[in-house]
Structures are given as C-alpha cells and as structure tokens.
C-alpha cells in the first residue's frame, strides 16, 4: 500500500552536542549524510580521540548532551561558509570564534572548558577530520557514520498522548522530521526502500534512545525522563530510524514522503 507523508523539517548539527540548525533543503549523495552534520565535536582530552583518528568513536569520547546537559543552554550557530561559531545566552552574544584559525579555536576551547567545568588547565580537543562526522552511529562503521536520522512526528504525538507529557520532537535531534505516516510505522520499515522527498533511501536501523533526549532543547538541563517514558509505555527505548541514502537529490522542506 502506498502511503504519502511529508518532510516537515530538516536540521543539521554542525557541532556535536550544540544547537540544531534548521535547513530549507539538503543536497544528498548516495552513501552520504546531511552536509556539515556533526563535522565538529569537542573530544575529551583524556579519551580515545587524537587528531588524525580515522575510525568512529563512542559518544562517550566526546562532550555531548548525554553527559553534559548544560550545553543545551547555549544557543549556538555555526556558519559553514566562514567557520565562525557564535554562541548566545538569552540573546546575548558570549562567544564569537573563527574555528578556521588557531586563535579562534583557542578562544572556543577556553570558553567550552568553562561551560563544561573542566579542571584548571584542562581543555577539550576540537575534533575535525575531513570526510568524517562524529555521529553516534559512526561507532558502528564508516557506512553508518553517514546515516541520516529520521523521526516520525506521529510517533512523538503518540508518546505524548499516552503519557500526557509534552515531548518536543527536537529532543531527538533528528536530521529529518516527517509527518503523515502512521505512528510507529517507521519501526517496521527496516530493510525497505522508500522515497524521502525525491531521494531514494533505505531504512537501516531503529534508533535506541539514551538520556540525551531527556535534555530539553534550550533548557540546559534534563527535564523530562524520555527514555523511562518510552520504556514504560512501549517496553522499548526506540524513537526514529536511520536511513541510508541510495540516490543523489535534494530533499526540501514540504516534499513528499512515499512509502
């Protein structure tokens, strides 16, 4: 049976753990991910990341929302054209750093060392590896590194209806929010191909959720036990799927999803 849905929103997260950046469109290539998604990260100085690391690492090697919920209290925007990272607190600019220069990187690292409350003299490591991205799925291999994350808004609404909690879909930090599909139908699609706004994709994996989803977007703290709500309501911790891009094309907001 043919079901039609719609691409409601598109996001990229240029720096792992920092703010979402909404997109009007995303140009996709076979086997590729959303351009500039998670191409930067702040790595733990005593962890597994070293400049030049060419393999996927666990999210625990990086500063990220699951461990560092205060990061969500910062409103960050990263200009992928100029490499300039701007950070605001309640609308006030508190950091402007050009990550294309040593000086800018040093400024950013000092700033985040304070936000992350690292001991005196300890700085995070700016992770940036050409051609690589620091997605959670990258730990499973270089193919999964580029998987695009998709959340079905009907499933989020079902969770809201069954728990009475307001669940902001942005908690799940997906690349694509789709609507118009039956709730939870996405979990049954693994292995199937479908049309995501004109781009052929294959559903490859269900997304198991961790406590990063408990962090309210913009709130700077964990404010809703999403994993527990999922577990109690459905007996699983799943929300959303990963898809692999099969054909080249441009996904636009508002485009049709045909399953």
């Amino acid at each position: 049976m043919r079901t039609a849905g719609v691409v409601r929103e598109l996001f990229r997260y240029p720096v792992k753990g920092l703010s979402a950046q909404p997109l009007d469109q995303a140009v996709l290539e076979p086997g590729g991910g959303i351009p500039h998604d998670r191409t930067f990260a702040f790595a733990r100085p005593d962890g597994g990341y070293r400049p030049g690391t060419r393999k996927g690492l666990s999210k625990q090697e990086f500063f990220a929302l699951v461990s560092d919920h205060r990061l969500s209290g910062l409103d960050t925007s990263f200009d992928v054209e100029t490499d300039v990272l701007v950070t605001r607190v309640a609308g006030h600019e508190v950091l402007e750093a050009d990550l294309g220069t040593e000086e800018g990187i040093a400024t950013a690292l000092r700033f985040f060392a304070r936000v992350l409350d690292l001991p005196a003299g300890v700085l995070p490591v700016l992770a940036r590896e050409p051609g690589r991205r620091f997605t959670d799925a990258s730990v499973a291999g270089d193919d999964s590194m580029n998987w695009v994350s998709v959340v079905n808004l009907a499933s989020v609404r079902d969770l809201e209806a069954r728990t009475g909690a307001a669940v902001d879909p942005k908690r799940f930090r997906a690349n694509v929010l789709v609507d118009g599909l039956p709730a939870w139908s996405e979990l049954d699609m693994i292995g199937e191909e479908f049309d995501l706004g004109g781009v052929r994709v294959r559903a490859v994996h269900q997304t198991k959720r961790c406590a990063a989803t408990e962090v309210g977007p913009g709130a700077g703290r964990r404010d809703l036990p999403v994993v527990t709500l999922l577990n109690r309501t459905y007996g699983h911790q799943l929300m959303g799927i990963y898809v692999e891009v099969l054909t080249a094309g441009t996904v636009e907001k508002g485009a049709e999803v045909v399953v």
Binding site: H92, G220, V226, V227, N231
Partner: protein
C-alpha cells in the same frame, strides 16, 4: 532524622506577610550545630511538614533557631498554620538542621535573593560580613519596600535592593554577563528567578552556581556525597551537579553505560556499604540491596562504597 521539640520563644512581624519565629529548647539547652544555608523541617500545628531556612548564621552551639515564614494565601496551609496557630510558648516538632545549600569557600560571592528567598542568603551574608569579608555582593529582589524583610540590613555599597512594583523586572544580565571563576553565585527565590539565573549562567562553570534545592524543581534535588571505589579505596566526591557515574568517570574510573537514564542497567555497580535512593527502573527490590545504577541513583548516606558488578556479594545476590 532526629527530631527536637522546641518552644517558640519569640515572634514578630517583619512585614505584613512575613513573621519571624525564634525556637529554643524548653529547658534552655544549646541546640544542634548548623552552618549558613541549613534548614529545619517544622511540623506545623495543623500537621504540615515544612522546610524553613535558618536566617541566623548558626555555629557550634546555637541557642535558638530562627525562621521567617511568609504567609502564602495560595499555599496548601503550612504557612497559614504557622501564622494562625503558633504563638509564643507553642511547642513544635522540629528536625535537626540539614544543609543542602552549603556555603563553599570562594574569593568572591554574588547572592541573588527573590522575596522570602532572602532567608538562607541572609545567614550566609551575615556570616561572611561578620568575618570582615569584602567581595560579598547581594542582589535582593522584592515587590516593594514594605514587602522586604531585613531591608535595613542591605543598604551597603555592595547591595542592590530592587522593588519590581516601582521599577519593573530587574535586569540580571549585567551582573552575570562576564563569567568569573572566582565568584560563586548563590540564588534562592521563586521558580522564575531560579530559572532566569540558570538560563543566564549557561556560560559559567556549573560548580560556581548554587541553587537552593528545596525551592528548586523537586526532580532535580540532589545532595553531594562521597563514593569509595572498593577495588582501590579511592575516594570520589560526587557533587550535586554530577551523577555518580559522571563523578567516577571524571576520576578516571571506567564504568560502562548505555542509556544513562536508569533503564538499561549497563552501569549497575555493586553496592557494598551505604544507603542509596534508587531512581532506576531496572533493578528488582532484592537487587537494590546490593546494587546501584550509577547514572541515576544517589547516596542518601554521606558515603557509599561501590565496586564493579563482579564485587557483588555472592551470599546476597
């Protein structure tokens, strides 16, 4: 928690809605020690249990506990019972003092109090200023001068008292824009003030920001404790803002985890000694006697001894 039975030895209205109560031992004995930031739990004549901060700096052998209670007409009756049912001579069950809002050493301080939130802040500021300390700044936000307990005590050059009825909402940003690792911020007041301070200090070190815990969101109440890592006896301080899991990892102790939400049980540790408040949804009641899920559960005793799962005592597990 040990309970005292204290007599109201004095009471006075500080403002039309705030009444001060002094509580002393009926036989005149010294009371259990406390430090600024401590609170007691009073059982009101109507049976409510209510936490009130102690407004005097305290010490080793205080003669009295002093609390200030704002009558809350929209409340659930605790403050009304204190105002209506308590007089000089009334005896009340009072807990020993507990301090979940301790004053940490710091080169400088910024205190932000909203309304009756002044109570723990006053104890702290009086302690520090009695020591002759400088660099103790106070922002005290109330509706009007008539609604401001201890108004005359906050007229110094380091004090800003702001009345919103006259001047509108206070702009906190100029006081918080530049994060300073040498300043500790202590905030107590209504939830919107606490939320504003939390928001406006997102670029500060979390360890420098202290929020009065029982006025805060109840889901985020947490007290610091010490964890001893059984394999090598290492002592790890678990501050209020870190989970047991994060604190152990910060000290270089590798603990595996997955969901970090208390559901999967990957970070389960052996609990060898100490009391724990369990917040996980994975352990059975039996397992909770000997295990702790480190990502969500916290100690209620000052110290717990934990170890890897293979330290689980075979006779109990």
């Amino acid at each position: 928690m040990s309970e005292l039975r204290l007599r109201v030895s004095g009471s006075a209205d500080l403002t039309p809605t705030v009444r001060r109560f002094a509580l002393t031992d009926p036989r005149g004995a010294a009371l259990p020690a406390y430090e600024p930031g401590a609170h007691v739990v009073i059982t009101t004549p109507a049976g409510h249990k209510r936490s009130y901060s102690l407004v005097e700096p305290g010490g080793a052998r205080p003669r009295e506990y002093v609390v200030c209670v704002r009558r809350d007409p929209g409340g659930r009756g605790g403050s009304a019972s204190m105002h209506d049912d308590v007089a000089v001579g009334t005896e009340l069950p009072v807990s020993a003092p507990v301090n979940r809002f301790p004053l940490h050493p710091s080169p400088k301080y910024l205190f932000i109090a909203g309304g009756i939130g002044i109570t723990p802040v006053r104890a702290m500021v009086r302690r520090l200023r009695a020591q002759g300390r400088s660099g103790v700044r106070v922002l005290y936000l109330t509706r009007s001068a008539g609604d401001t307990p201890f108004l005359r005590e906050f007229g110094g050059s380091d004090d800003t008292v702001h009345h919103s009825d006259e001047h509108g909402l206070f702009d906190l940003w100029p006081h918080l824009a530049e994060p300073d690792d040498d300043v500790r911020v202590y905030c107590c007041g209504p939830a919107p003030l606490m939320q504003a301070v939390r928001t406006l200090t997102a670029h500060w070190r979390a360890s420098r920001i202290h929020m009065e815990p029982f006025a805060a969101d109840h889901t985020s109440i947490s007290a610091p404790f010490k964890a001893v890592w059984a394999p090598d006896g290492r002592e790890v301080d678990v501050p209020a803002h870190l989970s047991l899991l994060d604190a152990l990892r910060r000290d270089g102790i590798p603990v595996e985890s997955s969901c970090e939400a208390g559901v999967c049980g990957t970070c389960r540790l052996a609990l060898l000694s100490g009391e724990v408040e369990h917040h996980d949804s994975v352990l059975t009641e039996d397992e909770r006697l000997t295990s702790v899920v480190a990502c969500v559960s916290r100690a209620v005793s000052p110290e717990v001894v934990v170890g890897p799962r293979d330290h689980l005592r075979k006779d109990l597990s």
